[in-house]
């Protein structure tokens, strides 16, 4: 026996480990997950790219679709409009969010948890909703339309206000994180040198949060440029790229041109995505430098200024929400102010009626359940699998890709891929399944990153120990990995549920008469002029998402207290 070992050793080739049955099972599973991502993401995107170089008869035309696109002034104008909306929204949102985040992290203002919660509300509503509120507030019969000094709310003003509302929480989360990693020792040093508050701000705070600001700016820009809901509701004649795709496809049935606009829309989104990834890495480097957490000192005047500011922002957010709820409850705002539930008789309107609401809940539940399983297990295999490096790398890449793909683009890509007569998967077309698949894919990246972060925090040797004890990997996965990662798993499922409730962009191309969704119903009712019912449905989405959030909070608290005995060690 010993001699065989020598022979193996003397061979000039590189040794390869014999794979265990665990390794083989894990490889099989990673192929399954990889296969899922190829079908749900890579192939549809490929179908879309290729569609953009064919004409409607199906013959190859090279770049001629692109030429005709760039020769149509109305379409090219949308690029300018989209960039304009993106840039202005970015400037406004990042400024508002920065000051708010500064108040949350550097002042001792009262009511921080309350104001933080309010600031997160826009995540729980479809991006169509602020537009609807703005119509009631500033539209032709708007309650306070004098405040626009004769300007029209339909168009860039309305879009930008809506986008600011919609993007605020995203920017806020990033900037709060950026400000929280500040090192208290730097502030103590600066204070000891008797630097003024202003001086400290410019020499310590701003440089420290610069990566957070850049990252927030890119996220906001991408969201604003690719959003479909706000320009659809309140854009009027002001065309942007996202609405162009919709008009080309739904209005004119010009799929090839839709594909071209999609490719154009992919560019800023993909660019922003890569810059953001770059910056995130730098921020992580800052974070690992073991800072001492900063404890702000009370300062009556400053705390009150920050409090006032937080109240103003909260009024903006609650005002938008409240306006929608009022409009929904009054018979015919602002003319008939008697209360009633007529606007909730969705079955009398276009858009799918109450069914669409229940469809949405069903869709969101499936998305949360299957999405969490696929995403978490996929992240686990990428993180803990052995060998198969190229495939694991490819899955990791595919998992990061959806972040760079706007929902409209994904939805259109799905039409091209899943509706092709030659594709056996076209049985999925117009089913609940395709809505679930597209939504999981659309929100894959953030979920994947959440899972990866949680997995990375676990001791890397758990799997080695389990192997030495001859335990199959799935046992350790179920008995250790999943329990330890439960908070992250809950976060992922809630994230998927809420986004599935509110999303419009991808699913607007994919629903069928049997699978109408609440968010799409908001869009269609608004389109048909039933604005109050649209507001009512939008608020139903809000209450559902908020309810689920509260449930999640209670559940997390329960789990926290039950696992408190051992969680301490995970933290350190």
């Amino acid at each position: 026996m010993a001699t065989t070992a020598v022979q193996v050793g003397k061979g000039s080739g590189v040794l390869k480990s014999k794979s265990s049955s665990d390794d083989r099972v894990m490889r099989l599973f990673i192929l399954v997950i990889g296969g899922y991502l190829v079908i749900a993401l890579a192939l549809p995107l490929y179908a879309m790219f290729s569609k953009s170089v064919f004409n409607s008869d199906g013959s190859f035309v090279g770049l001629s679709n692109y030429f005709s696109y760039f020769q149509t002034p109305a379409l090219v104008y949308s690029i300018k409009n989209s960039l304009f909306v993106g840039i202005i929204t970015t400037l406004i949102t990042v400024t508002i969010a920065f000051i708010l985040a500064y108040g949350f992290t550097r002042s001792r203002m009262r009511g921080k948890p309350l104001f933080k919660t309010i600031a997160m509300i826009p995540i729980l509503v479809p991006s169509l909703l602020p537009g609807i509120a703005l119509i009631y507030l500033f539209g032709r019969q708007g309650v306070i339309n004098w405040a626009l000094f004769g300007n029209e709310i339909y168009g860039p003003i309305g879009i930008i206000i809506s986008e600011v509302f919609f993007t605020l929480p995203h920017a806020l989360i990033i900037i709060i994180t950026g400000l929280s990693i500040a090192d208290a020792r730097l502030y103590e040093a600066a204070t000891a040198l008797r630097a003024s508050r202003i001086r400290i701000f410019f020499t310590v705070t701003l440089p420290g949060v610069r990566y957070g600001l850049i990252s927030a700016a890119f996220v906001v820009f991408t969201l604003a440029v690719t959003d479909f809901g706000a320009p659809k509701v309140i854009g009027g004649d002001f065309n942007v790229l996202a609405t162009d795709i919709y008009k080309q496809v739904i209005g004119q049935q010009n799929f090839e041109m839709g594909a071209v606009v999609s490719v154009v829309l992919l560019i800023p989104a993909a660019l922003a995505f890569f810059v953001d990834r770059l910056v995130q890495k730098k921020q992580v480097a800052l974070l690992s430098a073991r800072a001492v957490a900063l404890e702000p000192k009370p300062d009556r005047r400053f705390d009150n200024i920050m409090l006032t500011y937080a109240i103003i922002v909260s009024i903006f957010i609650l005002g938008i929400l409240g306006m929608c709820q009022f409009a929904a409850l009054f018979k015919f705002f602002p003319y008939n102010l008697s209360l009633g539930l007529t606007n909730y008789q969705f079955d009398l309107m276009d858009g799918g009626g109450w069914n669409s609401y229940f469809n949405s809940i069903e869709m969101a539940s499936y998305t949360a359940i299957f999405g969490t399983i696929i995403v978490f297990y996929g992240a686990y295999l990428v993180e803990k699998g052995k060998g198969f490096g190229v495939i694991r790398g490819a899955v990791q890449f595919l998992a990061m890709l959806p972040m760079a793909v706007p929902g409209m683009v994904l939805g259109l890509a799905y039409i091209f891929f899943f509706n092709a007569p030659s594709n056996p998967l076209n049985v999925l077309y117009h089913t609940m399944a395709i809505l679930v698949i597209s939504t999981i894919t659309h929100f894959y990246t953030v979920s994947h990153l959440t899972a990866t972060t949680a997995l990375k925090q676990m001791d890397a040797q758990f799997e080695s120990v389990a192997a030495s004890l001859k335990q199959p990997f799935y046992r350790t996965f179920l008995r250790v990995t999943v329990p330890v990662c439960t908070p992250a798993i809950l976060d992922i499922s809630i994230y998927l549920f809420v986004n599935a409730m509110t999303t419009v962009s991808a699913v607007v191309f994919l629903y069928s008469p049997h699978t109408t969704l609440a968010s799409v119903a908001v869009l269609n009712m608004d389109d048909a002029g039933d604005i109050a019912p649209a507001a009512a449905m939008g608020m139903m989405i809000f209450y559902t998402a908020a309810g689920v959030k509260v449930l999640h909070y209670l559940l997390s608290r329960g789990i926290e207290s039950r696992t408190q005995a051992w969680r301490i060690s995970v933290a350190n």
């Binding site: 026996m1 070992a5 193996v8 265990s20 001791d459 758990f462 080695s464 389990a466 005995a565 060690s569």
Partner: protein, 358 residues
């Protein structure tokens, strides 16, 4: 010594272009306690992981208990392992951690629980059985990890710096405990450490490594008394070095004069490095006695280290000062103090000779 239990032959490990282990060959005997010792980055952990199959070698063979395990995955090898981080499952209690490797083996429940009891008794943690790892001290966690690794009665126990996360006092205590446990169970054990004191006190044999190669294999006594290379001489314990050249039969010349050595086989003019341990240098009460290699020097500093003192002496004309250990009694008798002069001798048979480029 028993039979060879683990045989490593011509093992090489590369990470890309970097060779972490170069042509390592090694035998470990049944029931033996072997330490891999070496500076940080020398490849100890890499070698241990190759033995476990966690990171397979680029080339070379490994045989355990007569079975060629060179390319087997960890799950098909026979070992228990304790990592520096312990890798205890945080959500399982002490007893569940220890039982982790036992449960699925279709063992009956009462068998499992009596085995767990036995192991917890062994590491003296019976009263901690329902606690979670985070509720234990570092030393206790370490013992849980040990019990978990031993639960399945593996043929080979692998320990990667198991004590380095503990404070000094616990560490000394646990050294004894692990060593006794290992003797009692007679389990073949390999421990990785960069702490020479740990290796010297615990190991039956030490494998000294540097830059991916083995410098020396031997018992602690052999390694200490007869370091096979300059690296080992320098790495283990404290050593005085003197640059010199062979000037005749059994004689060397250096900056401070000539020294007798015990080796007469080295050709003349060859550059050598002479080495002597501080405790092998003798302090003399009178000069001119018949001791060889005598010189005198000025005491630069005196350091009290409990039972003995360490004196730094600059012999007249020498390139570098010598460190000399002496008992406190002798030091008092000779009235040694900084600034004074003292006579000393370097016994020829205690001088180690290392030839340059060999």
């Amino acid at each position: 010594m028993g039979d060879v239990f683990l045989r490593i032959e011509n093992l090489t490990k590369k990470f890309g272009n970097f060779t972490a282990l170069r042509d390592i060959s090694l035998e470990v005997f049944e029931g033996e306690f072997v330490c891999f010792l070496g500076p940080s980055g020398c490849g100890k952990t890499t070698l241990l992981r190759a033995i476990a199959g966690l990171d397979i070698q680029t080339q070379g063979g490994i045989t355990q208990a007569g079975r060629d395990i060179s390319v087997l995955p960890p799950s098909e090898r026979d070992f228990g392992i304790v990592f520096q981080s312990y890798a205890l499952f945080p959500n399982l209690t002490v007893e569940k951690n220890v039982a982790y490797g036992l449960e699925s083996r279709r063992a009956r429940r009462d068998e499992t629980s009596s085995r767990v009891n036995e192991l917890l008794t062994l590491v003296d943690l019976v009263d901690q059985r329902v606690k979670y790892p985070s509720q234990l001290s570092g030393g206790q966690q370490q013992r849980v990890a040990l019990a978990r690794a031993l639960a399945t009665s593996p043929g080979l126990l692998l320990l990667d710096e198991p004590l380095s996360a503990l404070d000094a006092k616990v560490r000394t205590h646990l050294r004894q405990e692990i060593k006794q446990l290992q003797k009692r169970l007679a389990v073949t054990t390999i421990m990785v450490t960069h702490d020479q004191e740990e290796a010297l006190t615990m190991a039956d044999r030490i494998v000294v490594m540097n830059h991916g190669v083995i410098e020396q294999i031997g018992t602690p006594e052999e390694i200490y008394a007869a370091p096979a290379s300059e690296f080992v001489a320098e790495f283990i314990g404290t050593m005085n070095f003197i640059n010199a050249a062979v000037s005749g039969a059994s004689e060397c010349a250096h900056q401070g004069g000539a020294l007798q050595i015990s080796d007469n086989s080295i050709e003349s003019n060859r550059a050598v490095r002479l080495a002597i341990r501080p405790e092998d240098v003798r302090l003399l009460s009178v000069s001119g006695s018949d001791q060889p290699n005598q010189t005198s020097g000025q005491v630069i500093s005196v350091e009290y280290l409990g039972a003995f003192i360490r004196v730094t002496i600059q012999p007249a004309g020498w390139q570098e000062p010598l460190l000399v250990d002496a008992s406190t009694d002798l030091a008092n008798e000779l009235e040694i103090s900084a600034g004074g002069t003292v006579n000393l001798s370097l016994p020829a048979e205690k001088i180690l000779i290392y030839q340059e480029d060999s």
